[in-house]
């Protein structure tokens, strides 16, 4: 039972550090998660400035919150066996 608890907590730590590190090194975007970014270009003939789309995953605050939530849920789940054993007694 202790091993199960340890695995869940290590998994929670892994999820949390991965999410935070990914978010931070991907630019620490404080907006919503994006699956593409744009860069501006100008059409030489018409002078119209337009966006060129580049597919790229940019984790945002929702990604960070979801990662923290999942990590918290895993830690909480690690206490369940303890509650069950107490309930049985």
């Amino acid at each position: 039972m202790n091993l199960f608890r340890l695995i869940l907590r290590l998994l929670a730590l892994f999820v949390l550090t991965t999410c935070v590190a990914w978010w931070f090194f991907a630019g620490a975007d404080r907006g919503w998660t994006k699956t593409y970014v744009t860069r501006s270009a100008v059409d030489e003939v018409t002078g119209i400035s337009y966006d060129i789309r580049e597919d790229r995953f940019v984790p945002g605050m929702d990604f960070l919150v979801a990662g923290c939530g999942l990590s918290f849920a895993l830690v909480a789940a690690s206490f369940l066996p303890l509650l069950w054993s107490k309930h049985k007694l």
């Binding site: 919503w32 994006k34 059409d43 018409t46 119209i48 337009y50």
Partner: protein
Amino acid sequence: MKITRLLLASTLLATAVQAEELSFDFKDPKGVNHIVFTMDAPLESISGTANGITGTISADPNEPEEIEGKIVVDAKSLSVPNPVMQEHMLGADWLDTAKHPEITFEITEVLNPKKQGNEGTADIKGTFTLKGVAKEITVPAKVTYLPGRLADRTNGQMQGDLLVVRTNFQLNRGDFGIKAGEALDKVSDTINVSLAIAGAAPKK
């Protein structure tokens, strides 16, 4: 006498040619034509684009008040960078693109046209249709006529003229039945729209 008649006829012919109405096609294989829309939201402004633009505008470069035509936007080409937002935006609660696949603007009248060289400004009145709701709106537009520049855009493959239209205006989503009075804490009612499109009139 014959010479005078000939001169008069050639002058009239030249005037007729100059006053020729051109039809500009706004389908753009280069993907430059686009619309940018922004809305205020709590975490960050929602900014998206649309590039599925088609339509034609008939215009006589010498008579800017004579512009007429219709611009059509494929509603499914509206795009925001967040995939969840994208799904919601195109879904039944918001734009309902399955039932209303087109956003259109049909010009009905040109007000206050001002022309300076090949550039002009005007307030363009027309019928804007979004999510099946049609409303009369007036938008300020800047129009630039680029005679003979189509060749530059097509690497000499086509000869003709270009017409560039730029406009910025605001809409209220509630006016078009898009969650009227709802979710105002999540997305503002006001939508800022910026449009820059170029149409081509190939020489026949």
